[in-house]
Amino acid sequence: MKLLYFSWLRERVGTAEETVRPPEDVATVGQLITWLTRQSSGHAAAFADPSIVRCAVNQDYAKAEAAVGADDEVAFFPPVTGG
């Protein structure tokens, strides 16, 4: 599973991109976040307040209950501020 981080989530995690192999019981975005927070203190800091974290699965917005699998591109980022 390919993970991407943007903006201050990237800074806190310490990388823009990583490939992970979470256990099989990690099947949704919400479960992935819970699992990621245990991987490093940087991850824990990035996901400290999930209400300000947005997620996209394969480049479409996804909510906590959305399914994620080994072949997905999953991105985490703060609310957008373009325009």
Binding site: W8, P50, Q59, D60, K63, A75, F77, V80, G83
Partner: protein, 159 residues
């Protein structure tokens, strides 16, 4: 038409291309977003726009399709820059063309409201030697909410 680019754009040339040969277009509504010098704690020296290549184009194309479906438009244009920009420089151009002005105005406002809340861009402000990520504005969420027609329009809400 969607363009995500680092380089600047020329408004006249872009709008002329949008209308070229479209003999039923009487109305061109457009919006340009500029980098303001006014930041929270002091004068802004620069701003860097980060984005999510791939998802950006995908979201903007979806936004264009939605506008074309909802209003009687001829064409839609969205140009969004990324990279480091200085105060006064152009960030974004949205335009909608139509036989009549009401549709063009409404669609253009819609494009901007959705772009502000859906397009995966993040602004990093430089004020003196400090940098800070700009916070999303509640006002922008409210502005986008007025266009909602179905549940699929709420994608950028909490994960």
């Amino acid at each position: 038409m969607i363009k995500v680019q680092e380089k600047d754009f020329d408004v006249s040339a872009e709008l002329a291309a949008l209308c070229q040969g479209r003999t039923n277009v009487g109305a061109v509504a457009s919006f340009i977003g500029l980098v303001r010098e006014v930041a929270g704690p002091g004068a802004l020296s620069a701003m860097t726009l980060e984005h999510y290549p791939g998802m950006t184009e995908r979201q903007l194309a979806g936004l264009e399709a939605r506008a074309l479906e909802r209003w009687p438009l001829d064409r839609v244009l969205i140009i969004h820059r990324f990279g480091r920009l200085l105060p006064g420089q152009q960030i974004v151009l949205c335009a909608a063309t139509s036989p009549h002005r009401e549709a063009a105005f409404e669609a253009c406002a819609f494009l901007m409201d959705w772009l502000k809340t859906k397009a995966p861009f993040w602004k990093l402000e430089e004020v003196g030697s400090q940098t800070r990520w700009v916070d999303a504005r509640k006002d922008d969420d409210d502005a986008a909410a007025r266009w909602q027609t179905d549940a699929s329009d709420t994608d950028n809400s909490e994960t």
